[in-house]
Symmetry: C2
Subunit: 448 residues, 2 copies
């Protein structure tokens, strides 16, 4: 079993055809890409992108590829690097919930950069995305949960495999070359949770996309690697996990699609906060509750809600994204929770709110992550008791296609994007019929 793990994954990448991919998986891939363009446009003005571009541009070759949400062009690996950073910088991108991988940020930028440089059809790109994403999430499953818990930034460490496999599919690598590409990716897997909330995080996400491309290109040129870089004695799984489960790599491969379990965030905050935000928006809209009326809030939720998000003092935009206290305060002030509600100004605005010190957490390990019970007592002596059983965006209540289009429009507006986002959505929904997948990039960069 173990000796064959990389071979099986490589065979899956080399052999799976477009017709082997079920319709619901194909559609989920399009949804992932639509969400990708939304978050990449939103992030493209951030300093992590602008500084990376300024520092790295002198070391780039032919400017074949576009940068989403910007006017510059750069070479293929750098375009992939920058677009991956944009897509992930707000942590507003997609989530494979079992692993907390953001699957698309490392893969899609690599594939579209390749498509711009070497033309491929939309169906080819979608197939490459699905196979790359599937391999990425399965590797994530096999190293979880100890991998992330120990401190690996799983989007980066597993993302490089997804990009390598996806580009390998577009290049038409043989099974043996796919195995080498996986080995080349294993040699480059990196990224630390410790960097979250800082610019350094963006480096490993960008590298996952860039280095995935190079892993596959090197393998195409017979740059060879170890026999079983995933499950070998000192392969990726044993080094990057305290308790790897090798069978998760291949159990149900080609039948049970991990990448089809992808989810999308309606709010740019930690997943654990989504039911809380939803409860607040409902109370704001339906009961007229306002932040200044609140005396006390009691949250009953999965223990991770408290562990991740009990941050009464969060004073920056970054930290406000993981602060239940801020999320409640701002959602009850404004009745919404977009990027403008989780920036430095918004965090400063709620910092003195009476709500902040008056949020209590009650752990209930029996609850799912997408649920919460919120009890609010007001200054006027009233109580509101609200239960969210399936927060929007979670597996039980996915964002609809229309909601994803709205997210795209909202994030484009946030960025001041000067192009027609409807055309991007249309191109994504019809991507499987496109002769030239790279054409979307001409809709998604900023007009000069």
């Amino acid at each position: 079993m173990s000796a064959a793990a990389t071979s099986k994954i490589a065979a899956f990448a080399a052999q799976t055809q477009w017709d082997d991919i079920p319709a619901h998986v194909r559609h989920e891939a399009k949804r992932s890409l639509l969400n990708y363009f939304a978050t990449a446009i939103a992030g493209s003005g951030e300093a992590a992108v602008a500084t990376s571009l300024a520092v790295l541009a002198p070391f780039a070759g032919a400017a074949d590829c576009r940068i989403i949400g910007r006017a510059e062009r750069v070479d293929m690996p750098l375009a992939a690097y920058l677009n991956a950073i944009s897509a992930n910088v707000f942590d507003y991108d997609d989530t494979h919930q079992e692993t907390v991988i953001h699957p698309t940020a490392p893969i899609a930028p690599a594939l579209f950069a390749h498509a711009e440089r070497q033309r491929c059809t939309g169906a080819s790109l979608l197939r490459a995305f699905v196979l790359g994403g599937e391999i990425e999430c399965r590797i994530g499953n096999a190293v979880s949960p100890s991998h992330y818990a120990r401190g690996w930034h799983i989007t980066s460490t597993c993302g490089v495999f997804g990009a390598a496999a996806g580009i390998g599919v577009l290049l038409g690598l043989s099974q043996e070359q796919h195995a080498w590409s996986i080995g080349n990716a294993a040699a480059q897997a990196s990224g630390l949770v410790e960097t979250l909330g800082t610019m350094s995080k963006s480096i490993s996400v960008g590298n996952a996309a860039r280095n995935g491309i190079l892993s596959a290109l090197l393998a195409e040129n017979n740059f060879s690697g170890p026999a079983d870089p995933l499950a070998g004695e000192r392969g990726f799984l044993s080094v990057f996990s305290d308790q790897p489960t090798v069978n998760r790599l291949t159990d149900g491969l080609g039948e049970d699609w991990e990448i089809a379990k992808n989810t999308y965030k309606p709010y740019p905050a930690a997943i654990v906060l989504h039911p809380v935000i939803e409860a607040c928006i409902q109370l704001h809209r339906e009961a007229g509750l306002r932040s200044e009326d609140v005396a006390e809030v009691e949250l009953t939720g999965h223990p991770l809600l408290r562990q991740r998000a009990d941050r009464a003092e969060a004073a920056t935009g970054r930290l406000s994204q993981v602060s239940a206290q801020h999320a409640i305060a701002i959602a009850l002030r404004r009745g919404k929770a977009g990027l403008m509600e989780f920036n430095d100004a918004a965090a400063a605005e709620t910092l003195g709110d009476g709500i902040r010190p008056n949020v209590k957490f009650i752990d209930d390990a029996g609850r799912a992550l997408e649920t919460v019970r919120m009890l609010v007592r007001t200054q006027q002596g009233r109580s509101h008791d609200i239960e969210i059983t399936a927060a929007k965006g979670g597996p039980l209540n996915p964002m609809t296609d229309a909601e994803l289009e709205e997210k795209l429009a909202e994030l484009a507006a946030y960025r001041g994007f000067n192009r027609d986002v409807g055309a991007i959505a249309e191109a994504v929904w019809s991507l499987d019929g496109a002769e030239d997948a790279g054409e979307i990039m001409a809709l998604a960069n900023m007009a000069g």
Copy 2:
């Protein structure tokens, strides 16, 4: 203590002056660089270098920098990447014995590439090399021994910090920027022991040099990172070591110089084989012993000798470098043990030797690595009993400066290098007085 670890290392990098570096440390740095040019010239014709150059050249910018042992020029990060691969590809480069880090391959290529692009003095470059190497080895000490044992390729994982710190010194980063540079490096630390003996290994070594440069350049542009990327809760040490020893980072910093403990190999084989090879060469030279006369060999050595090098079937050049059976057979055939003795042809030549199945190992945990007792019984019924107490190249019997010059000449001849290696040696020995450190690169590339 822990919260301050990165700060202390960053302060050391930002504040240590040339005058603070003792003469013996400066001289050891020159020895490291001479050995670097030797191994980089030797490796520069390998497929790992040529294929990397072919695949990556389309994605390079201004061709400011030379490639050692080759005629092409490429941009700064790619030159660093390729020269690091050349220096390390044969594992014939230097060794910090406590960690088994090859300290120079990730650092020197970065510094010389910088020197070619942005001119700096030889003393500046030497200072950057010493401080980068010191930080690299100290981080290695702090994660050892579990780090390498678990499967991390320590030259790559720690090398990126050395290159980042060294380039940071040349850029004159502030203490805060050095800390960010270390964070940027932590986000990129990668490399697996599983890839040893394959081309994939070279990717992580090249990346260490390239990504170290980018870590420092990003930090110079205020691309910020976590407060304590080394010793933070989920920082590099806790994630990359099962038993980190944080105090090894800073104990005796600036007084006890790890980089001055660097050693150089007289033979392109595993360190554990060096006393064995030396015993064979002595018997060949002094007792006239030849491989065809040998009936049986008994080796009494440190247990690692058996664990690493008991490989009677080694059939490739790569594997022959870690095969005691091949090393004995070839050294007793030819009376020498250079690169030509550890290639595919040499391995094939000894594969049928009667010696191969007749080597016995006796473990003696009380022995140092650089010792061996070798007992040889011949077909003619004679016995040879030889004790090597301090193999050449180990800490007790370092290669002399003259021997390093001979190594340079020998490896240049192996590569068919068409330039005067005496000029390289002279430039290295007088580097501390050089106005332009990059000038050595004009002596070390291949004439067109």
